[in-house]
Every structure is written in structure tokens, then in C-alpha cells.
Amino acid sequence: MAEPMKIRAKMEGDAADVKVLMSHPMETGQRKNEKGELVPVHFIQSVIATHNGKTVLDIQWSQSIARNPFLGFRVKGAKAGDKVTISWTDTTGDKSSIDTTVAA
């Protein structure tokens, strides 16, 4: 089961600034473990960000996104109290999501 994400959304001017930190190994399939065996490829492929239920970002990632991925984006026209949700799916079909309200 995936570990929880961290999310923060705060108004900056007329846009909500959103920062997300996900917890995931993002294995490239090229790294070897202590025994010298290749660690199988395992990474977040898809991330969807929504603002009050509407998709604002539809993201596709490869294994070249760093371990414990960071994502920053901005939603114009958002207001304090609005809901922002992040959901990801990885190469094994594992999923995780988190939501927050935009702070003033």
C-alpha cells in the first residue's frame, strides 16, 4: 500500500500555488540491490490534478522522475476554500490520492 502524500495549496495573487510531495521509489529498472540483482521497474505513470472536481492537469511520467516525486503547479482563478485533489497510478496498478483546501 502506498504511503500518504503531502500537499499544500495557497493563494498567490489570482492563482492557487499547489505543491505536492509523493512517496514512491520510482525504480528505473536499472538499479541493482545489495545482491547485485536488478530491481524491477516500478514508477508512477499517471497523475491527475483536479480543482473543485474539474481536471486541471493530466500528467504522464516516466521512470526519470526523481524518487519521492515533487510536483508544483498553479491554478488561475482559484479561491481560498476551493478543493484540490491529486491522484496517481503506478506501473503495478497501485493508486493513491489526497485532497486539500486552498489556504488564503
Binding site: A49, S62, Q63, F70, G72
Partner: protein, 146 residues
């Protein structure tokens, strides 16, 4: 009766479209598995992108650790639909694609893995046309294997 059927099928279509927005775009397997930038760009439908100064790539000149390279891309090109990032010298150059809708600003911030010193290319799709900018990032310790 015919009218009713038309109305209900229109509603059904609207419902399907509504659902579609909640489902992720199909993952670009061919693109992400391409071993050269040229091949990867083909899968994105790019045939010649215009170099643009309206694209800003913010990243360190020298990344000490290739496993965590912070990269921010901002596009000032009107009607920017998506931003893709390509790390030219990575084993699989295409790194990520971000599609914007419903008020998202054409700005993204993330952290990449880089195997070695390379050009990092931002590719912007706006009004169906492609624009590009590149920045070289020097890597001291690679971040792909290890």
C-alpha cells in the same frame, strides 16, 4: 419520440464526455520507451518545433546529484496546451508530459533523474503547434543506476 431519443442520446454523449475528463490520457508507451529524442518527438506528433524565447527553463547550471534535479518550465506562449520535458542523453529521453485544462497556468515544477550532463529540452504545444527551448545541465554524479 424521435426528439426524446435524440435528447437522451445527446445527454448520454455529454455524460460520456464528462466521464472522459476524469480518465487519464493513454500513457505514451512508445514515446517513453524511445531511445532517442528524435523517436520520442515523433510519438508526440512533432515535425519541426519553433525555438521560442517565451519558454523559460529554470534549473541549476550544475546538478551535483543527478538523482534529484529540480526543473521548472514556464510557457508564456498563448493557449499553451501541454509541456513535455526531454532529457536528451538519458537512456529513455522522454521524461514527462503535462496537459493543462480548466485554468491551470502553463507552469510546472518537478525533479528529474539525469544519467549525465545533457541538454534538457522543453517542448510546448500551443494552438496545435510546437515550440521548444533547451538548457544544458551539467551533472557531477549520475542518477539512473547506482
Amino acid at each position: 419520440m424521435v426528439k426524446f431519443l435524440m435528447a437522451s442520446s445527446a445527454l448520454a454523449a455529454a455524460g460520456l464526455l464528462g466521464m472522459r475528463s476524469a480518465i487519464a490520457a493513454v500513457w505514451n508507451k512508445t514515446g517513453f520507451e524511445s531511445k532517442t529524442t528524435a523517436e520520442a518527438l515523433k510519438t508526440l506528433g512533432v515535425s519541426g518545433a519553433t525555438v521560442s524565447r517565451e519558454i523559460q527553463i529554470t534549473a541549476p547550471e550544475i546538478a551535483e546529484n543527478g538523482a534529484q534535479v529540480p526543473v521548472t518550465v514556464t510557457s508564456k506562449i498563448p493557449n499553451t496546451q501541454s509541456i513535455s520535458i526531454v532529457v536528451d542523453k538519458n537512456p529513455f529521453p522522454l521524461s514527462c508530459t503535462f496537459e493543462f485544462s480548466n485554468g491551470a497556468e502553463s507552469y510546472i515544477s518537478t525533479r528529474l533523474k539525469m544519467g549525465q550532463t545533457s541538454n534538457v529540452i522543453a517542448l510546448i504545444k500551443a494552438d496545435g503547434k510546437f515550440f521548444t527551448a533547451a538548457k544544458e545541465i551539467k551533472v557531477t554524479i549520475g542518477g539512473c543506476g547506482g
